[in-house]
Amino acid sequence: MPQRTMVEALNLALDEAMAADDSVLVMGQDVGINGGVFRVTKGLHERYGHDRVMDTPLAECGIIGTAVGMSVYGLKPVVEIQFSGFTMQAFDQIEQNMARLHNRTMGRFPMRMVLRTPFGGGIRAVEHHSESRETYWAHTPGLKVVIPSGPRNARALLAAAIEDPDPVIFYEPKAVYRAFREDVPDEREIMSIGVADIVRPGNDLTLVSYGAMMRPAREAVEDLADEHSVDVELIDLLSVSPMDTKTLCDSVSKTGRCVIVHEGHRTCGIASEIIARINEHAFEYLEAPIRRLTGYDIPFPYFQTEQHFLPDADDIVEAVRETLAWE
């Protein structure tokens, strides 16, 4: 099976979708001849031409707003915003139209569109290039928020996002873009949105994460098994809205303990929502307070200090052991 990076896997998913359906088009800044600043759209301009792989003026609000109109007209735009920190410029169009037009028109105008954007830290970038604000979109009724963690699920989830009849925010963990290769088959694969992945079954504690934090989480789980004989169940959320409440609560009902890891800020972060749901559905099974290891409530630090801001495998191991020790 061919080995691919996440960038190559995403490129494959876009190419497959565009080849299969001529209403799918790609638009954004520098997505054309340049192939995108991370090269996710490389080669598509050559294959499909300017009208389907469109370099836009530099205006995020304009990109999303015009994509909304194209979607009304029956096209399926897949928009790239260069960094998720720049989606704030487009908040207006995401909130006023992308998330609401289907509801406003009682379904007459579905919003078949995908907003792809790299998120998260760890690449020594300047300010506004490391944000993890998935909470904004999970908090916005009408959107779906999908977050892959590796090349294979990135390809299959992007295929699902493009096929989905509702608007999807697709957050790509840029620290993973070229971090490793993985088997990604040539044959098309598609996953269901809203289904979490039990990466490793276990009995002692449920560890939940998504995106780039899945790497230190995996490392921590191996270390815990090898060094401390702790049997952790690791869950990759893959979609923060909708959220796979059942898988989370079934797991916690079994293990009784839970640690959640994400890059996004703590207050009203995704972990807060997970804790609330476990509280609602699995409270009686809990044997310890749920621990969250998240970004702090400060702006993402300038990059000379970012490695201390982001949780690493050691931090996760410590949080897990403390939670297991709680009586």
């Binding site: 301009h45 707003g65 194209m70 037009l101 009682m106 379904g107 105008f109 909708p242």
Partner: protein, 386 residues
């Protein structure tokens, strides 16, 4: 249509003698955009300038007149209903009937129209049943979706937020090689929104078949134009984006139709967008929650009463022996009767459907939303709400 995304030859631009710019490169004096002549075909006395006359037949002139009268009748009835507590807050558009009817008069069913919220005259002309507009403004969701078969957008309330999607529709048309066009309207206040400038730029770069109609009615709630922009006109904004732009007397229905014909012909020929600044005046309130006496001298409205677009057209119709005073009165009564019939239909169909508020958010509803719906329905059941 093929477009290549190659680099522009900036070197050619900077070769001496190749630009037409009359400006010295070190000239930092404010640029005088000058005045742009306001296109007028039908003057206030009812005289027609033959060089720009769109040449409507007698029947067409009478239809246009009736559409404007109907718009005004609807506006007046809405105000009465609002004052009597039957209607929610809405945006009256008294005096802007020529703008509204003129901008959609020649559109086909395949064309798209994206209205602002001060446009119900245009919506009626596009085929929206009046009862649906009553539903819309009295808080029923059913009023919002454009009726099947009518290529209109619903308006969005946040000022200017509907303009970019309208451009996107036009960009879609160009990609599908259609000869149709999009008309989007907004006001002088919306012109200050960054998203509207982005829309003008995106449209021009993509050569999208869209006509921007800026109804400059002098006021954005209480903010007059001199606090809204520092130029003498808004048409210059289009010129700044390289876009052909027209200023037209927005109270002149023939001028509006002439300007729109110029713009739609360009759009259908693949020549791209046009900006039309329609100079008009908001004679009435911003919304029914507004009291203009707080911020404007009512004497200011006097000259605009004299420029009434309907009275002006009636002078022409009288001159041409197409309409006598009594006949005009009869048309007013007929239009008011049509509005009242629509009000009856509205009263018969208006029904709040609280059990359906979750039904239209998603095509594929996530299970957590289903759970919330179930909880909400239990609440309604507990309270005995149907």
């Amino acid at each position: 249509m093929s477009m290549t995304a190659g680099p522009r030859d900036l070197a050619a631009d900077t070769q001496s003698g190749t630009t037409n710019c009359s400006h010295d490169c070190m000239d930092t004096k404010p640029i005088d955009l000058g005045d742009i002549e306001v296109l007028q075909v039908l003057d206030e006395q009812g005289n027609v300038n033959p060089t720009r006359d769109p040449g409507l037949s007698d029947e067409e002139l009478l239809s246009v007149h009736r559409a404007m009268v109907l718009s005004r009748a609807f506006d007046a009835r809405m105000l009465t209903m609002q004052r009597q507590g039957e209607m929610g807050t809405f945006a009256p558009n008294l005096g802007q009937e020529a703008c509204m009817i003129g901008q959609v008069w020649d559109l086909t069913k395949q064309d798209w129209f994206s209205p602002s919220y001060r446009s119900f005259g245009a919506q009626i002309q596009r085929g929206w049943p009046m009862e649906r507009l009553f539903l819309l403004w009295s808080g029923y969701h059913e009023g919002f979706p454009p009726p099947e078969g009518i290529n209109d957008m619903p308006f969005s309330i946040v000022i200017g937020s509907h303009v970019l999607p309208a451009v996107g529709i036009a960009m879609g048309m160009r990609r599908r090689h259609q000869q149709d066009c999009v008309v989007v309207n907004f006001g002088d206040g919306a012109m200050s929104q960054g998203a509207v400038s982005e829309a003008l730029n995106f449209a021009m770069v993509d050569k999208a078949p869209v006509i921007f109609v800026c109804e400059n009615n002098g006021w954005a709630i209480s903010t007059p134009t001199q606090l809204q922009y520092a130029t003498t006109h808004l048409a210059g904004r289009g010129i700044g984006f390289g876009m052909p732009s027209i200023r037209v007397d927005g109270n002149d229905i023939l001028g509006m139709i002439a300007a729109m014909r110029e713009a739609t012909a360009r759009a259908r020929n693949g020549e791209g967008p046009t900006l039309i600044e329609a100079v008009t005046y908001r004679l009435s309130l911003h919304t029914t929650a507004d009291d203009p006496k707080v911020y404007r001298d009512e004497a200011e409205t006097e000259p605009w009463q004299q420029r009434c677009p309907i009275a002006r057209l009636e002078r022409l119709l009288e001159q041409r022996d197409l309409l006598k005073k009594e006949a005009a009165e009869a048309i007013r009564s007929e239009c008011d009767a049509l509005v009242l019939e629509a009000r009856e239909r509205f009263r018969n169909i208006a029904k709040a459907r609280p059990r359906e508020v979750f039904d239209h958010l998603y095509r594929t509803t996530p299970s957590e939303i289903e759970d919330q719906r179930a909880e909400y329905l239990r609440r309604l059941d507990r309270k005995g709400v149907d």
